[in-house]
Symmetry: C2
Subunit: 224 residues, 2 copies
Amino acid sequence: MKDQQGWKAAKQELAFVDKLTEEENQFLEDNVAEVSYRKGFNIYSMDCDCPGVLLIKSGWVRVYMLSRDGREITLYRMGPGEVCVISAACCLGGMTFEAHIDAETDMEAWLIPSSAYRRLKEQNIYVENFTYEKTVEKFRDVMWVMEQILFMSLEERIAIFLMDETERRESRELKVTQEQIARYIGSAREAVSRVLKEFQKDGIIEQSRGTLRVLDMKKLRGKI
Amino acid sequence: MKDQQGWKAAKQELAFVDKLTEEENQFLEDNVAEVSYRKGFNIYSMDCDCPGVLLIKSGWVRVYMLSRDGREITLYRMGPGEVCVISAACCLGGMTFEAHIDAETDMEAWLIPSSAYRRLKEQNIYVENFTYEKTVEKFRDVMWVMEQILFMSLEERIAIFLMDETERRESRELKVTQEQIARYIGSAREAVSRVLKEFQKDGIIEQSRGTLRVLDMKKLRGKI
């Protein structure tokens, strides 16, 4: 049984909904599904089918690039209320993104399957437009990541990561390992470890088994 | 006096033209201008007004990122027959790209000024859609550059650059300095110099004052 209340709210994120014909709207209603993924589940890789457009109800997805030798760079994350269109890359018309999507936490979402989404997109210019708009929004995030990697020191990048995380999690206590930080920013664990040790010495953070606490937000900001 | 023949051909690149009303079409005709830029001219930077949408008649533009300390990374180039929408970033709705555009050679283009383009885009969903589509196309190029920088060795990146250039210029003789190559791929001149010396030793290229000639295309390809 569909959670009608939740779907009604989620649907508002789809800017094209008001532009659908009655028939198209019914088709959407008939095809949307509720899905849940376990933490760590690989939702999309270039070499497998894409599930479709995801409207996230709870939890987070992480979109990242993967090198031939297994290194990762996190491009962006998406959370509750956000619409992930890259997960329907197969509908984006010749667009193949060198990107992967994992469930970063246990998560629930509304799913418009690729085949259904493609049909709506082909019939209705507003759906196509919405898809492009959402993609271009993410372009900005990717450019920002690129700028950090190209032009900023490791110290600056780690400081930005820690600030973003405390804000996103609304807590100064982060459950994150050095290994994870290295993966997020596409660096080596040893290098991350070195910078974090300096931050600790300066009284900016405090580290203990799998937890990192930001002690001095102002000093952290000063690193950027 | 407008080069009507040239404009008629160029206009075909604007997929939305058939979807304009008579009034909108007239408005476009009245507003399009012919421009020419000298080699090296800065067409767009984030801190100045953007000229509008460019339909390139002849010559090339280069789109790049610039760091605080003046290092550059070339994201992509566009040439004859291509439509550059980033040069109208101010019309793209909240999109600010950390990008700069230079005329890489002397060049001529049709220009739809920003204010005119914005009006068309606000009136006609097909113009908006075209704008997004062109932007998303470039997203792919940027991802490809990013992949190269993040995951490939300097040797691989220089090999890719040389292959792209011989193809683009349809010549194995490239008028390009080590300094320019370094700027294109966002590396240091010394590092580029070292790799080119190795390529020369392996009989892949030959260098002389400001010119680089590819001798062995197969070996060059083997570097990737």
